[in-house]
């Protein structure tokens, strides 16, 4: 809704400057999105009259004009084809800067002096398209006068962002009422003039007839008849106001209906009376497959849910949405049938949506207009047609009003108002405040007040709505602040605590946290080369996606992670370590709730340390992170890693991660094709873990202190050679199983293959740490355990001992 300041002022004489009013409106709940001054940059343009035109002696296409700007005359050169004697034109004198940024200077064009410029519409910033000639003003324009005054541009316009409960403010009078409520003194609304000289020879209902077939969809339909109208441009002031409100002037009849729309928040429709068959209007539901060509020339097919305005032969309008060409007012129209109606808001909303035809009218109907004001608005329009279209208004209004308005009475408990707002007002104060909003008290009871709500306040239904009005008038910022009393303790849930712990561990192990979109596209998964039966392909699709790239919900955090790694790699970031905790979604079948799971992903690119010299720095970095992660969650003893096989991992460098016997995730180096496609650094690795099991199993804060050892430890190195096929985890498990409670730690510190080691074998070296709680260990004790370990290694893996 665009509200021009000066236009608003014609309804109420408020004492606020344009800027003060802006603030007041916002604070009253009518949020001012923008405040524009229409004449910006045009303040110095004046009106001139062409009083002489000569040919330019040195240029065929140019003319030399003398322009009278009242206090003097100036010579100007123009090439405009529409230059004529005695026309009024906008003039920019030397020194003026146009809105386009062009500065007017005194110039000489082929030997002739030009002392200013005759402007075109685009040069004044009034249209974007290049104009074919200069702007010609009407004969009423006064030479020497400011152009902005003539053009109605000396105007501030408020762009209001109105929420649905402010539907009443979609008209100037509605806004004026809000301005009135801002002050407690007596500002009054100046309602528009309606002074009709009725044509008495006939009555409207003798000329035309209205029949409403569905009163729920059309509770009120009124018609007025205006005869002998002359179609011509509307008066300048009206055009200016409409333009300021963002509406393009067309002709007097259309402009008047739009003017009333803006003034009273009442959409009107003018039909050519003589195009209505039998002058009989029938308001009914459309029939299945019926169609109509609307004013925009488009054929619309309708259904039984659409309300239409018809005559006995044809549809003449889609009610509240758009008229039809077949009954349109044209240059030749002489008699008008003016529709002023109230249509069912929900129905209009559905129709406008279905036909994709939102309009100023439907916008208002669907929010609900003032059903009691329908006839007044129609009469005001008829009056303006009498004044500005030379129309003869026929006596009477055909007012078909089957569902009469029921007065809305709301009862409010005084104590409830005070309790809910945290204030203490008495009955009189509340009454006075609401009176400013024309909400009248009709009954005073001991603890209650009963109010009659004005018919234009369809947003007020119950006491809560009245309480809101009291708060608004009282002023939100005048209400004191308090803190609610409480004896509760705030806390995180167990899962939230685990999540926080995970984030801390991840940060501590050097990973940065990222957040990626959970809306994603199929390409991300195609690029991972997944077979169609892969779990990641069970995604949930969006029914109405913005585009393919946001067309589904992710089933894995890996695509987003890889994308983030790629973004960085392309920006010359050589090294990164990322993690994310987020939800993924799996399709559970049609009409089933998708499954939401929380997952953890991590990725490493460009790590330097290559602990085992296997050219797998990123893989083992992530492995180290995982080990620390499970240790911190106190479940490291339950976790194992087995060779895995995901289509997006390097076949020889991927592991499945198990918690006991349940697979909870995967870890692997991305396969070379993917690394190449995403421009990642070689050997980049990622992992993903389903946190569901972890959330179930982990106990937070369950630590038991273990006594620090009092007796010295004994350290032994052990180097063995065995087949390279044997996974390290097995060897470690075997060693640890022989520890006899004195082996406290087994650390692998070297793997070697190459010279001196036969092909197919590897040499591995451990540091074994022995310690007892209650005594100093003897060499004998330690040796016996070491020997036992060696025996087992020999027996099981044919290990050769290199050093002990």
């Amino acid at each position: 809704m665009q509200v021009p300041y000066n236009w608003l002022k014609t309804y109420i004489d408020f004492p606020y400057s344009p800027f003060e009013l802006s603030d007041k409106l916002t604070m009253a709940g009518l949020e001012v999105e923008e405040l524009d001054y229409l004449g910006k940059g045009l303040e110095n343009i004046i009106i001139g009259e062409i009083i002489e035109i000569k040919d330019h002696p040195n240029a065929d296409k140019l003319k030399i004009c003398r322009v009278d700007i009242k206090e003097k005359t100036l010579q100007m050169i123009t090439g405009a084809p529409n230059i004529k004697m005695n026309i009024k034109v906008p003039i920019a004198e030397v020194g003026v800067t146009l809105p386009t940024g062009m500065k007017i200077e005194k110039t000489t064009i082929r030997g002739e002096v030009s002392e200013g410029m005759i402007c075109s519409k685009d040069e004044l910033g009034l249209q974007e398209k290049r104009a074919s000639g200069i702007m010609v003003l009407s004969d009423q324009a006064k030479k020497g006068e400011k152009f902005i005054k003539y053009q109605g541009l000396n105007e501030y316009v408020y762009k209001l962002d109105l929420t649905p409960n402010y539907a009443r403010c979609l008209g100037m009078i509605g806004v004026a009422r809000e301005v009135k409520a801002m002050q407690d003194d007596d500002l009054s609304i100046k309602y528009p003039e309606i002074d009709i000289n009725e044509k008495k020879d006939q009555k409207a209902d003798q000329i035309a007839e209205i029949k409403i077939e569905d009163e729920n969809l059309c509770p009120r339909y009124a018609g007025l008849i205006i005869k002998d109208v002359k179609i011509k441009p509307s008066p300048k002031w009206m055009q200016n106001r409409l333009r300021a409100a963002g509406i393009r002037p067309i002709n007097n009849i259309v402009d008047i209906t739009n003017y009333i729309l803006m003034e009273y928040n009442q959409p009107l429709h003018a039909f050519d009376l003589n195009k209505i068959k039998d002058r009989k209007i029938i308001v009914r539901r459309a029939k299945e497959k019926e169609s109509v060509i609307t004013l925009d020339g488009v054929k619309r097919s309708l259904d039984e849910q659409t309300l239409v305005i018809t005559d006995p032969h044809k549809i003449i309008a889609v009610a509240g949405v758009m008229g039809s060409e077949n009954s349109e007012v044209t240059e030749n129209t002489t008699d008008i049938f003016l529709e002023a109606a109230y249509f069912n808001p929900t129905n209009i909303r559905k129709t406008a949506r279905k036909l994709a035809l939102p309009s100023e009218a439907s916008h208002r109907f669907e929010r609900g207009i003032d059903i009691e004001n329908v006839v007044t608005a129609g009469r005001r329009a008829a009056f303006l047609m009498q004044e500005y279209a030379e129309g003869q208004v026929v006596k009477g209004v055909i007012d078909n009003y089957p569902l009469t308005y029921q007065e809305n009475i709301v009862k409010v408990e005084i104590s409830k108002i005070n309790r809910l707002l945290g204030i203490s007002l008495d009955k009189d104060e509340i009454e006075d405040m609401l009176k400013r909003l024309e909400i009248e008290t009709i009954k005073r009871e001991a603890n209650c007040l009963k109010f009659k709500v004005p018919s234009y306040r369809n947003d007020i239904e119950e006491d809560a709505d009245i309480i809101e009005e009291v708060a608004r008038i009282y002023g939100y910022n005048n209400i004191f602040s308090t803190i609610p009393r409480s004896n509760q303790v705030g806390k995180r849930t167990r899962i939230q605590k685990i999540e926080k712990k995970i984030k801390n561990v991840m940060n501590a192990t050097g990973l940065d946290e990222i957040i990626t979109f959970s809306l994603t596209g199929p390409d991300d998964y195609r690029n991972l080369n997944l077979p169609s039966d892969h779990r990641y392909m069970d995604w949930v699709s969006i029914k109405n996606p913005l585009n393919e790239a946001f067309g589904l919900l992710r089933t894995s955090l890996i695509p987003g992670l890889v994308e983030a790694m790629s973004t960085n790699a392309k920006r010359q970031i050589e090294e990164l370590k990322y993690f994310e905790i987020g939800r993924v979604f799996f399709n559970q079948g049609k009409n089933e709730r998708p499954l939401e799971k929380t997952k953890l992903s991590a990725g490493s690119m460009g790590s330097v340390q290559d602990r085992w010299d296997l050219d797998a720095p990123d893989f083992y970095y992530l492995k180290g992170v995982l080990e620390e992660f499970f240790k911190k969650l106190n479940i490291d003893k339950n976790v194992k890693y087995l060779n895995g096989s995901q289509p997006f991992y390097h076949t020889g460098r991927t592991a499945d991660i198990f918690y006991e016997d349940e697979k909870i995730g995967t870890l692997g180096e991305l396969k070379p094709e993917i690394i190449e496609q995403y421009d990642l650094k070689e050997r980049s690795a990622v992992l993903e873990i389903d946190l569901t099991t972890i959330f179930k199993e982990v106990e937070i804060g369950d630590y038991l202190f273990e006594m620090l050892p009092k007796y010295p430890a004994v350290v032994r190195d052990l180097a063995v050679m065995l087949s390279e096929e044997i996974p390290m985890m097995e060897v470690l498990n075997l060693i640890n199983s022989q520890g006899q409670e004195i082996l406290k730690d087994t650390e692998l510190f070297d793997i070697y293959q190459g010279e001196q080691i036969p092909k197919g074998k590897k040499s591995i070296a451990f540091k074994l740490l022995f310690q007892a709680k209650d005594r100093t260990l003897t060499d004998q004790e330690v040796n016996s355990v070491v020997n036992q370990i060696i025996e087992k290694l020999k027996n099981k893996y044919e290990a050769e001992i290199r050093k002990k």
């Binding site: 604070m27 009253a28 709940g29 949020e31 999105e33 923008e34 929420t163 649905p164 539907a167 669907e366 929010r367 309790r419 809910l420 707002l421 945290g422 809560a464 709505d465 809101e468 708060a471 939100y476 910022n477 602040s481 308090t482 803190i483 609610p484 509760q488 705030g490 806390k491 995180r492 849930t493 939230q496 984030k503 991840m506 940060n507 050097g510 940065d512 946290e513 990222i514 957040i515 990626t516 979109f517 959970s518 809306l519 949930v540 969006i542 029914k543 109405n544 913005l546 946001f550 919900l553 973004t567 960085n568 970031i573 990164l576 990322y578 979604f585 009409n591 709730r593 998708p594 939401e596």
Partner: protein, 341 residues
């Protein structure tokens, strides 16, 4: 030979030599020369036989005095020289303290996490619990239970992404209000952070996927002034004590009265600039008293219970707090960006 004379001579000679000693090695040699088993002092003792008996105690005494003197001199010099040596060693080990330190890998928190940690700590302190809810929601929880019936113009305020006829992606975190009221008895005090979805094209100020933080308080006698108090504490904590706050009437279907909350613009300090559209205020939060219809639908009697709710864009807090002018930066995950937090 006069031993006493010799003692005098040794003394002056020793004084001379010790004074000139340069390092510990020479000092040691001097020690051997005078105090050693075959040193000059020992030699004097060995000559004691030749001394007349009555002279013996005198010579003996003088020799011991000499011995102590030299010993003292030696000790003193040794300590001195050792100190010098240590100092030299330290000096020789001087490093360039301006060289860069070791590379230490520290993981960085995401700005979203920074903010939520701050917000959560604050609300935990005020006795709030943290709630979460599903991101895939039903029409009922996302709209109807929040007093947004089908075909109500309020539906236009949010463009919804649908999955099918039953399920949609929540357009706000407000459904968590309903889920909490259904499962818990008042008093209720929660905040609910989470992801939300809208059918908005991705640009500098919109994203189809963003985050919100919701708050809800339900109890007997909760008033609008309580709402103001809690929100003022929150805003002052997050945006700074010096910020001015204003509440202005607004509309949300699930609250009444509803209030939009603005803070004074930090860039222009309220004078007006492009960030605040020349109003001096920046919108940070929507709030209001829980609508009686919402209470009723969730099984609470509005004549007994009242409450307030508030909701804010989590991304928006990040943008305002860290001066980020493009929402896409938050989801791009550029390492250089994350490392600023």
């Amino acid at each position: 030979m006069d031993l006493l004379k010799e003692i005098k001579k040794i003394e002056s000679e020793a004084q001379e030599k010790f004074k000139k000693v340069e390092n510990l090695k020479r000092l040691e040699k001097l020690r051997v020369k005078y105090l050693g088993k075959k040193g000059k002092i020992a030699q004097i003792f060995s000559k004691m036989g030749q001394v007349a008996d009555e002279q013996k105690p005198i010579v003996g005494k003088e020799t011991n005095i000499l011995k102590n003197k030299i010993q003292k001199l030696y000790n003193q010099l040794k300590e001195e020289k050792e100190k010098e040596l240590k100092a030299e060693k330290l000096k020789s080990e001087t490093i360039d303290v301006t060289l860069p330190g070791n590379k230490v890998d520290v993981g960085h928190k995401n700005p979203f996490t920074h903010i939520i940690d701050e917000v959560v700590e604050l609300f935990l302190g005020m006795g709030f619990s943290i709630e979460e809810g599903p991101e895939v929601e039903t029409e009922y929880y996302n709209f109807e239970a929040l007093n947004i019936p089908k075909d109500h113009p309020a539906r236009d305020l949010q463009d919804t992404l649908y999955i099918d006829d039953q399920y949609l992606l929540r357009t706000h975190t407000s459904p968590v209000q309903i889920r909490t009221m259904e499962k818990e008895e008042p008093p209720i005090k929660i905040i609910a952070p989470g992801r939300v979805y809208r059918s908005d094209e991705l640009d500098a100020s919109h994203s189809p996927n963003f985050h919100q933080i919701e708050g809800l308080v339900i109890d007997k006698d909760i008033s609008f002034s309580d709402l103001k108090g809690v929100i003022e504490i929150f805003i002052h904590e997050i945006y700074g004590k010096e910020r001015k706050i204003r509440f202005r009437p607004s509309y949300f279907p699930f609250t009444e009265p509803s209030a939009e909350v603005d803070v004074s613009c930090n860039v222009c300090k309220g004078k007006g600039c492009s960030l605040c559209s020349y109003t001096g205020w920046v919108e940070v939060l929507g709030s209001g008293m829980v609508h009686p219809n919402v209470l009723k639908m969730s099984g609470l009697d509005p004549d007994i219970y009242s409450g307030f709710a508030f909701g804010m864009g989590w991304d928006r807090i990040a943008m305002l707090k860290y001066d980020i002018d493009d929402i896409r930066v938050l989801y791009e995950n550029d390492k250089r960006f994350i490392h600023q937090f």
